[in-house]
Amino acid sequence: MGLSLFLQHLVNAISLGFVFGLVAVGYALVYGVVKLVNFAHGDVFMMSAYFMFYTSLIFGAPWLSAVLLGIVLTALLGVGIEKVAYKPLRKYPRINSLVSSIGMSFLLQNFAVVVFGGIQRSFPVPEPMKKTLIIGDVRVQAVSIYTIIFSIATVIVLGLILQKTKIGLAMRILSRDFDTARLMGINVNRTISFTFALGSALAAVSAVFWALRYPQIFPFMGQYPGSRAFIAAVVGGIGSLKGALLGGFLLGVLTVLLPAMFPEYSGYREALIFVLLVIVLIFKPNGLFGQEAGEKA
């Protein structure tokens, strides 16, 4: 493999890895605080793409304001979903919320089919994002660079929110134990609502970058990134934001490099990726950045 070819594969891998990572971060945030495996995350992601599509296309809103409006609407949607589908189940075993989130995922998909139609639509991409940088023989998408910068910034900002703000402190306490948090005078409902708003806003942000890179939106577009986010979060250590970003990155790298190195076996890629992930989990059952659940059985 020549150097420029290798570099091109590397660039592809990194740019895909950060897209996966960004989706996984929002997913891991909700899991980390509420301990809910939120299967509807990918579908919230899909809804946000449609929110932006319709606000920019139908109402002719300028691109950036359509995106901001989309993020706000998605955050509200996330809070609404929590109120309807998860809050009433909070006192029951966790499996109930899990099943509810799967139901919510189907509900959102079918809602989208009925309301938006099953047809693929083209997502509007502003000119600066369409640019391609050419360095020697290697080509880099402008949008990939924005994605990388934004993913890292997101993790830093989220870290600051969790470490430095009052609501972040409340979220961290909540992630340990709901009852104790309540005894400490933390408003559990408000904190969970905030977590869902933040997680859904992150889904919306990742949807923007996804749709800029792959400008095709349809009601089932959340399935693939949703499942990637789940795997990335598990491998990275579910609940860890850094771990989610790294897990997504690793997944992106495998997704690109496996067919790149073994083109004749490209059809077996998914199987190979899962074999590798199982191997990771055999040696690091808590994921790469997962905490040992030592203090509490």
Partner: protein, 372 residues
């Protein structure tokens, strides 16, 4: 008392009426990934039904069920059409991947099944009750290989296909076979690489293709959106070769999503309003335009023909029994809007292929390649 008598009369009438109906099952993906194809196909069937709503002096009733773009559901829906609705015949679904399981069930239950646009050979293979009104992938693959070699002077080609889609796998295979045979060079297909349905990122495969530097790139995507994204990413990676595709490309989404990346690409399909395939085409195109305010693509045209071929067979059989319809279908020689339809020994239609290109953001008719 009078109203009661009237009610009883109505019940008896509707009963008699219902028993007199000829039921025709229709299955299409009206939701899910293939919904676009399903909805367009349904338009053709509904147009044909509006023109001929009766046969053998009896009213026709369409039973339309959605298979949700799901392979398992595609089989379930056909089972329901047969067992619950007891239909005489079935007009099959868009997408070979959905058609194969459905056709299997219809054949096992000895119910006639006509596929409008499935091109994978497995749809009709060893299924005496299954027919199709379009050409098959070995022919389509050969046509595109021939076109690449003769018109584009290609000596090498790359293929990128969806390993989870029967249509895509089949078409990729037949293109490679034909290309190798026609060039006489076993190494002329320099890259043969897969992706998986649902993927959005094809840069790994395309970078491998870039390294091999073929003369043309064949992209038999299962869904039009995949083809558009592959084209886009190929251009972003600096691939300048002509792109080739199959009939799934023949939807406006190709241009909507692909934009300038699909400019100058070629693909084979089964219908074009400008291709003069039959004397009936013009009339059909005008009616369609009036109804939907756009040109019909191949899907409504073939679904329309599938319905008409079935009615033609029922008329000639003078019966709505599946076995009689099947026997009549074997001797079909019908001129539809997509050309003359006869069935070969595998019950596949012998049809001409239409080659189209994209020029200035619009589909343009290029040429017709004759069926064998």
């Amino acid at each position: 008392m009078r109203s009661l008598a009237l009610l009883i009369l109505l019940v008896i009438l509707s009963f008699g009426f219902a028993a007199n109906e000829i039921l025709i099952g229709v299955t299409q993906p009206l939701t899910g990934n293939y919904a676009m194809g399903g909805q367009l196909s349904l338009r053709g069937i509904e147009m044909a039904y509006e023109e001929i709503p009766t046969v053998l002096g009896r009213p026709i009733k369409l039973v339309i069920l959605d298979n949700k773009s799901d392979k398992i559901e595609a089989a379930n829906v056909v089972t329901r059409l047969i067992e619950q609705f007891k239909v005489s015949a079935i007009l099959g679904t868009y997408s070979s991947a959905l058609g194969i399981p459905g056709a299997e069930i219809a054949n096992r239950n000895k119910v006639v099944y006509i596929a409008p646009s499935n091109t994978n050979p497995l749809v009709t293979k060893d299924k005496p009750y299954v027919f199709r009104v379009c050409f098959i992938d070995p022919f389509q693959g050969t046509v595109m290989a021939k076109f690449a070699i003769q018109h584009l002077k290609a000596k090498t080609a790359a293929v990128i296909y969806d390993v989870s889609n029967d249509y895509s796998v089949g078409l990729a295979y037949y293109f490679r076979e034909a290309f190798i045979k026609l060039t006489g060079n076993p190494r002329s297909v320099v890259t043969y690489i897969a992706y998986q349905g649902g993927d959005q990122d094809f840069t790994a495969q395309l970078t491998a293709i870039k390294k091999a530097n073929p003369d043309v790139i064949f992209i038999p995507a299962g869904i039009v959106g995949d083809a558009a994204l592959i084209a886009k990413q190929a251009r972003e990676l600096g691939l300048k070769q002509p792109l080739l595709g199959g009939d799934t490309w023949d939807l406006p989404q190709l241009i909507e999503i692909g934009g300038s990346a699909v400019e100058g690409a070629y693909y084979s399909t089964m219908f074009d309003p400008r291709a003069n395939l039959s004397p009936k085409t013009k009339d059909f195109v005008e009616k369609y335009r009036k109804k939907y305010n756009e040109d019909p693509g191949y899907l409504p045209a073939l679904a329309y023909d599938a319905y008409m071929v079935l009615i033609d067979a029922i008329t000639r059989a003078k019966s709505d029994k599946p076995e009689d319809i099947r026997r009549a279908l074997l001797t079909t020689d019908y001129v539809g809007v997509s050309g003359r339809i006869r069935f070969d020994q595998n019950r596949d239609a012998i049809k001409d292929a239409v080659i189209k290109t994209i020029k200035n953001g619009k589909f343009e008719f290029v040429t017709i390649i004759k069926g064998e």
